[in-house]
Symmetry: D2
Subunit: 242 residues, 4 copies
Amino acid sequence: MAKIRVTVWNEYRHEKRSEVVGDLYPEGIHGAIAGFLGTDADLEVTTATLDEPEHGLTDDVLAATDVLVWWGHMAHHDLSDEVAEKVVKRVWNGMGFIALHSAHFSKVFKRLMGTTCDLKWRGQGEKERVWVVEPSHPIAANLEKDYFEIPLEEMYGERFDIPAPDEIVFMSWFAGGNVFRSGCCYRRNQGKIFYFQPGHETFPTFFQKEVQTVIHNAVYWAAPNNRPQLTFGFHEPLEPIE
Amino acid sequence: MAKIRVTVWNEYRHEKRSEVVGDLYPEGIHGAIAGFLGTDADLEVTTATLDEPEHGLTDDVLAATDVLVWWGHMAHHDLSDEVAEKVVKRVWNGMGFIALHSAHFSKVFKRLMGTTCDLKWRGQGEKERVWVVEPSHPIAANLEKDYFEIPLEEMYGERFDIPAPDEIVFMSWFAGGNVFRSGCCYRRNQGKIFYFQPGHETFPTFFQKEVQTVIHNAVYWAAPNNRPQLTFGFHEPLEPIE
Amino acid sequence: MAKIRVTVWNEYRHEKRSEVVGDLYPEGIHGAIAGFLGTDADLEVTTATLDEPEHGLTDDVLAATDVLVWWGHMAHHDLSDEVAEKVVKRVWNGMGFIALHSAHFSKVFKRLMGTTCDLKWRGQGEKERVWVVEPSHPIAANLEKDYFEIPLEEMYGERFDIPAPDEIVFMSWFAGGNVFRSGCCYRRNQGKIFYFQPGHETFPTFFQKEVQTVIHNAVYWAAPNNRPQLTFGFHEPLEPIE
Amino acid sequence: MAKIRVTVWNEYRHEKRSEVVGDLYPEGIHGAIAGFLGTDADLEVTTATLDEPEHGLTDDVLAATDVLVWWGHMAHHDLSDEVAEKVVKRVWNGMGFIALHSAHFSKVFKRLMGTTCDLKWRGQGEKERVWVVEPSHPIAANLEKDYFEIPLEEMYGERFDIPAPDEIVFMSWFAGGNVFRSGCCYRRNQGKIFYFQPGHETFPTFFQKEVQTVIHNAVYWAAPNNRPQLTFGFHEPLEPIE
């Protein structure tokens, strides 16, 4: 089996501007994610960041990416519309897309959803308990229990303005009184999309084992299949029409 | 109960440029649709067309519309991006949207879906049989049988590149060998969207009783409820956080 | 428009055996529910209870019921299999079914779901906050805000072993750390089913305004449409087969 | 990776009673299916049939089965309720279940669906064209085109009385004028279920390459994951309750 080619994309600005974030993620959030994914020899993992030329997402990079993992927050608007559109089209063409945390407001995710993707939030840090709602889903595999806790996370709360997900894998409880659909699957055109709520930059969430397990599972789930050839447009009759 | 305010929007160009279409729909497709909807005294029906100022969709018109019925085909690109965006936002804000036939490729529908909305098509005219898949759905109410036939329609065929619908009410069989998800419901933000496949401009589809019944049902289904007040953005804790 | 005929069914045993419950619901839980529904002149509301002959659900009663509201808890097994099967078949035939709280374990609901309907629970009483997830849904209409609180309720928690709902209207937060899909819609055959989590017998939940609003909305949503005539079994070809 | 253990179950009566069927499937339908699955060295394939003791489905067999493929038609009622219930519970406990063709009316499938599973049918043999509706789904992988044809099949037509599938992978067109949701995915408790329409005993459907590809894909999709440990019943608070 060919390796799954994963590109981990990150804004990589918080890490350079905030000492707290920089200390937590000295290799950047992308580095942390690429780090744990890279221990799987069946994955071929690279990274790309906002301030690289073409945001690190050249046509060649996108063409050679099976699954794109996305983290962005403060600088969604600094991503060029052109690159955002290219990524959307690559997802439509089969690339998996894993949107982490504040990527709910990224140009790519909002465009793919067709909604505002707005939500409630609270950033002071509070306990989040992630509950498994669909235990037979491959993205929930290899978790030990039917929930796990993140000691401190940013709260994201309903009403989350997304299309009803094709599958809800996780729902989260927050200490401050909110709930959230925190693990959501979508198919759009040929591509598979997974949104996963945890991962605020000021907390060590991406070093937590369960979070790593979920993202690792999601990469496998989102990887493209060898799909049938589709045709669109004018279609000759397959049966005689009187 | 207050009346439901329906605006029927039409490109209204085929009717003026093609004798066949003009003869079929002397009042325009919008006139035909407004005609049968207008016989229900609980609906308040008006029309708007592409070549009116602001495409007939001023802020006042949109604000006073509960359900917008949309027919467009040859001139999707002549709708200004600005008005398209206004309509999308009004749907998000609760206005129902009924996309008929070639409206699958309208700016508004594509933007709301987040996909290409591409499909197979064949325009020579062939028998379409519309099957009821979800008979308990209000949009299937008052149909006599579990299918109805349209003697001549344009074929639209799978793969239809849409998000998996929240509810599939109808599926169609075409004589030339194709199938299609021809009646599809979506919720997006506060708005309800119904896509209905029949309605090519060269056929008298909108004069057919069953088609009228379906569109009439859809207006009631898509009309906004008195929904709860939503809040987004920063959210004070509802419970004490240690 | 003909009135919607609602039958409210209750075990009606807790009220007679427990002073606490009897004091809370002197007319029985069915009496409380029938009380607030009965203030709507467009509903025709009657009640039935477990210990009546045929559990109050004779063929005539079922035939004359558009929507059946169900509360049961300690005595699910005292409902005869025969009556349970009749109710299931009547739902299949178009009767709406609203399963409240511990009705998740009723014979009828389990049979309709095809799963165990098991869950986590904790009965000491704790704060429940019911969040609106799908604000455009008619069952969420006329609520003031996007959540409401129940001061004391029994906790029901995920993993709730149900089929993924056709629509999730509400999700609940519980003070003790759990979350729950607390408002779930299903279509099964011709019938519509709504499961709503609140309503433990030792708490005055059914006197709370928001709970009453939701159940009232659900009655309208679950009421049968004038649906098309369905046929099953051998089907003559509609087109010539070579 | 451990091999996936597949048990192919068949009534195995038509083959013995009808010369036509016996000639088509000299090893039985189970033999034909086990034959093509068995060429994959990562699958461990065995068979079981109705007239074996305990219908070939002892506790040991079920415990050692990851995915159960089911074909039955004329003798659904000869399966004991006890074994049917065991199979249902094993699916709930994680075993994949692939219901082929007339298995729509098997005790196991009907029990898992909670509906009648009734449909229209016509057995004389006509062309079926299976359309790919969800091309990114793993069950559609490795098909060459977005449809394939079965020269002669039994027609199954809508309205198919099933719960709205979690995912519709295929929809079929029939020459006689009908359509059908012919590839349907469900999750029920821990188990994954795939219904696939083709496979009437009087046609050589199971020797067709595309049909084999789909069933092969479905085995991989339905195989259980290493899922988290679930708990049900009384649940101690995870947070202090005042």
